[in-house]
């Protein structure tokens, strides 16, 4: 049985791992990937110590630091459950392996939110993408749709104006992103803005051939012929595996107090998966440190 199992290897999880290792806790760091959302962040200008650093580079520095310590690290497995057992917790991964820990820190972060409409899952990676930065250039000269109305959707549109022949921006609400981004989108001559439009279906056989939208004002549906669909409708917490163990917020976030406690003794959470107000790398790292110190205190109390 480990002293501590950390679920997730983003800024919160990796910081927690360093703090735990320095307290000589027997620690397992379990994660699907290393870095989480930071992998998608091109440039970071607000992490102290670096005036500018690429997301990937910051993550590599975090990982290097974590790997200096004698902790177990298992990357590549999806976590499917985390339940209370006698004197601790049992964490199960998709392959069926189970791990026991006296304490657990949940740092599983967030992932891009899906539309949950017919055709989306089937055509994922076949024209439907959640990473404009990665896959955008593949749609050179194509007509595409960007779904969403916030900053990430607007940034995707601005990037794609240089790549795609035409971009439809479909948003459920009026555009909500920053004024300066909205202006750029409105000024572009190859963008059609469709606000108060709901995406109802992704069309296509082997790859995307169109998207079906519903105009919420008139109630009419229409189909646009596009080869790419960029879904930029925000993030959702990776907390599904906790249903049954914890009560989650309406948004699916893990509710914690200012000591990163979940309400279950020995179970802590940190970073973007929680209800902490600021979703920032520096905040997630700080929360990870707090959670690890709390877990350490708990372990000492139990063993004394």
């Amino acid at each position: 049985m480990y002293d501590l199992i950390i679920l997730g290897a983003g800024p919160a999880g990796m910081t927690a791992a360093v703090y735990a290792a320095r307290q000589k806790a027997e620690t397992l760091l379990l994660s699907k990937d290393v870095g989480g959302q930071v992998n998608w962040t091109l440039s970071i200008e607000n992490y102290m110590g670096y005036q500018f650093i690429e997301g990937l580079e910051l993550i590599q520095k975090f990982e290097e630091q974590v790997r200096k310590f004698p902790i177990d690290i298992k990357i590549g497995s999806e976590i499917v459950s985390c339940i209370r057992v006698h004197q601790g917790f049992e964490v199960e991964v998709a392959e069926g392996t189970k791990y026991l820990g006296r304490t657990v820190i949940i740092c599983s972060g967030k992932r891009p939110r899906m539309l949950n409409v017919p055709g989306e899952e089937r055509l994922r990676g076949r024209g439907v993408t959640y990473c404009e930065v990665c896959d955008g250039p593949l749609f050179q000269g194509n007509e595409v749709a960007v779904i969403g109305g916030g900053n990430s959707a607007l940034e995707a549109v601005i990037d794609m104006t240089k790549i795609a022949s035409h971009i439809y921006l479909a948003s459920l609400t009026p555009l909500t992103g920053d004024h300066i981004l909205r202006e750029k989108v409105e000024e572009a001559d190859n963008v059609t803005i469709l606000t108060e439009h709901e995406t109802v279906e992704v069309k296509g056989r082997d790859s995307v051939s169109g998207v079906r939208l519903k105009d919420l004002k008139s109630g009419h549906e229409k189909e646009l012929a596009v080869q790419g669909i960029f879904v930029e409708i925000g993030l959702t917490p990776n907390s599904d595996f906790l249903r049954g163990t914890l009560t989650l917020s309406e948004l699916g976030e893990v509710m914690i107090n200012c000591a990163c406690e979940t309400g279950i003794p020995g179970l802590y959470a940190a970073g973007d998966v929680t209800n902490v107000p600021a979703k920032q790398i520096v905040v997630a790292a700080g929360e990870g440190a707090k959670a690890a110190l709390q877990a350490h205190q708990f372990l000492q109390k139990c063993s004394s």
């Binding site: 990665c134 250039p137 593949l138 050179q140």
Partner: protein, 80 residues
């Protein structure tokens, strides 16, 4: 490890996971040919026909296709 394998990496310049794949190969001293599908239209068509996907990175190791930075799959194809 068999370094005689032919490795192709289909990538875009801005994709973080493409960088990770390239680093992964470089750390192991595996030579690879990179195809920038953002600028190479023929390469893009080749990638789509091989993988059936419009997503990067795509890695072709002796004809076996891996989509995304899947360490386990890459290690297996490289005979690690």
């Amino acid at each position: 490890m068999d370094t005689a394998k032919k490795v192709l990496v289909y990538s875009t310049p801005t994709c973080p996971y493409c960088k990770r794949v390239k680093q992964f190969l470089e750390e192991r001293g595996v030579p690879y040919q990179e195809i920038d599908v953002a600028s190479d239209k023929a390469g893009r068509d080749e990638m789509v026909s091989k993988s059936g996907r419009m997503a990067v990175p795509v890695i072709d190791i002796d004809g076996v296709i891996t989509v995304g930075f899947d360490e386990a799959s890459l290690k297996k194809q490289l005979g690690e």
